[in-house]
């Protein structure tokens, strides 16, 4: 009896398909294949964008589990609307638009429910916006990695306090590195508005991150 050393030796069609779909295949081609019923093509799209979309929604909502759920919902919506997709823009613009809409909807739901974290009860001195509890720790820091981690947490907290209309363009620009043109397409607004909102968001952040600048 012959023993197989790998499952690939079985020669399943799935294995053949995986050879066909490579990293060089464009998103539009994968979407076309998905439209014809090729689930592996869609799986490739998911694997390409899952981390980006999850990370983007996490930066928007500051909630990892919720971000994962919304990222999955993003892909479900892409799949559901694959027949209506128009390839006039990049697929990344399309999927980021869906993710942005979902994230903003989630933020508005939270605002309606008035879900406030336990640490969010502490406010600024002027009482304008919530600020997270960040008790001063005067002990010497252990190493530079710890400093970097603390700084990243502070940045994330500061971003999460931004109004949603400033938060999305700032993340898309300064975290995701998208161009102004792409951001304007994702947010469906003009480039001038995008630039203005990003500048305003940086002003907000500068006030909150003054200790780190």
């Amino acid at each position: 009896m012959e023993t197989l050393s790998s499952i690939d030796e079985l020669g399943f069609p799935v294995a053949l398909r995986q050879e066909v779909i490579t990293n060089s295949t464009s998103d539009h081609s994968l979407l076309e294949a998905t439209r014809t019923g090729d689930d592996d093509a869609f799986a490739e799209l998911v694997s390409r964008y899952r981390n980006q979309i999850t990370s983007y929604i996490y930066r928007m909502t500051n909630d990892y589990d919720g971000a994962v759920d919304l990222a999955q919902e993003t892909f479900v919506r892409v799949y559901r609307a694959v027949d209506r997709y128009q390839s006039s823009y990049a697929f990344s613009t399309y999927i980021y638009r869906i993710a942005t809409n979902l994230a903003i909807s989630e933020l508005r739901k939270r605002k309606r429910r008035r879900l406030v974290s336990l640490t969010g009860f502490f406010q600024n001195h002027d009482g304008s916006e919530n600020c997270e509890l960040d008790p001063v720790d005067n002990r010497p820091l252990q190493d530079t990695e710890l400093v970097a981690t603390e700084r990243r947490i502070a940045v994330q907290r500061a971003i999460s306090t931004l109004p949603e209309k400033y938060r999305a363009p700032l993340i898309l620009r300064d975290v995701e590195g998208r161009s102004y043109e792409e951001i304007s397409r994702i947010l469906q607004t003009s480039e001038g508005t995008v630039k203005s909102r990003i500048s305003r968001a940086r002003d907000f952040l500068r006030e909150k991150m003054r200790a780190y600048l």
């Binding site: 689930d39 799986a43 998911v46 694997s47 899952r50 981390n51 980006q52 979309i53 999850t54 990370s55 996490y58 930066r59 990892y64 971000a67 994962v68 990222a71 999955q72 919902e73 892909f75 479900v76 799949y79 559901r80 970097a148 700084r151 990243r152 940045v155 994330q156 971003i159 700032l170 300064d174 975290v175 590195g177 102004y180 630039k195 990003i198 500048s199 940086r202 952040l205 500068r206 991150m209 780190y212 600048l213």
Partner: protein, 268 residues
């Protein structure tokens, strides 16, 4: 010639991808403007801070969960497809409509048969006699017959006649009236006399069995009642009995005898 000032340099700093993308003119302005230089340093550090946020990885089972949700979507889509097909396909939709209408008619017929059996159950001798028959409006002979069944004390040569015009009774569903009859488990029948002609009772008919002091009694006195007495001399008198509501009756009497006498509860 392009004018370089703090405003244009500030806009250029905001929109630049990297510090290297600043033009030579802007860089030259930064060298001589402390305010713009400070703004440039703040923005550069701020963008470095924000850019230091690393990409958060999706969980390992992300693909599996997406596939699972898509599978659920497909199951739901199949159910929706069946629903749309059923109501979008004319013959099936029509057949469904016919079934629904047929079901409604069958239910109504069943209700009617159930009500008839209920009415049969409620027609007992103790249940105020003829008042249980409320399906059809009473005709004049029936009203007279009802009145004759009750011993009414009236004056000599007097009659009792209806003072309220006959109206068509309000049509009620048979099931509803039957259920009302059996409400609280009591075999209680009600009758609305305002919807039927009031009975006319003549004295000689009502007092035939009485020797003197003519007395007539009316059952079910818990309802409001108005008695109209018409004496033979053209004098009339109306008595309102608030506890009775089944209409008004007109008593025609000739000799002006007292109509109410020995009236225990439930009898006038």
């Amino acid at each position: 010639m392009r004018v370089v000032n703090c405003k244009t340099v500030g806009r250029e700093i905001e929109e630049a991808d990297h510090e290297k993308n600043l033009t030579a003119l802007a860089m030259g302005h930064l060298g001589g403007c402390e305010q713009c230089q400070r703004f440039y340093d703040e923005r550069r550090k701020l963008r470095q801070l924000v850019a230091s946020l690393e990409t958060v990885a999706a969980p390992p089972d992300f693909d599996l969960r997406v596939r699972s949700r898509l599978a659920n979507e497909r199951v739901g889509a199949r159910a929706g497809l069946f629903t749309n097909f059923t109501f979008g396909f004319p013959p099936l939709g029509l057949a469904t409509l016919v079934l629904v209408i047929g079901g409604v008619f069958t239910l109504r017929a069943w209700n009617a048969s159930t009500t008839n059996s209920i009415a049969t159950l409620t027609e007992t001798p103790q249940a105020t006699g003829p008042s249980t028959q409320r399906e059809q409006p009473l005709t004049e002979p029936e009203v007279r017959a009802n009145a004759e069944n009750r011993p009414l004390p009236i004056a000599k040569d007097g009659t009792v006649e209806a003072t309220r015009p006959a109206r068509q009774p309000k049509k009620r569903g048979p099931l509803r009236s039957g259920v009302a009859l059996l409400r609280n488990g009591r075999r209680l029948a009600t009758r609305e006399f305002s919807s039927t002609p009031a009975p006319v009772v003549k004295q000689e008919e009502a007092v035939a069995s009485l020797e003197s002091s003519p007395i007539f009694s009316i059952e079910a006195s818990s309802q409001p009642l108005r008695l109209s007495l018409d004496y033979s001399g053209g004098v009339s008198r109306t008595i309102s009995v608030p506890a009775l509501s089944f209409g008004s009756e007109r008593v025609l009497a000739g000799d002006g005898l007292s109509l109410v006498k020995n009236s225990p509860k439930g009898a006038w």
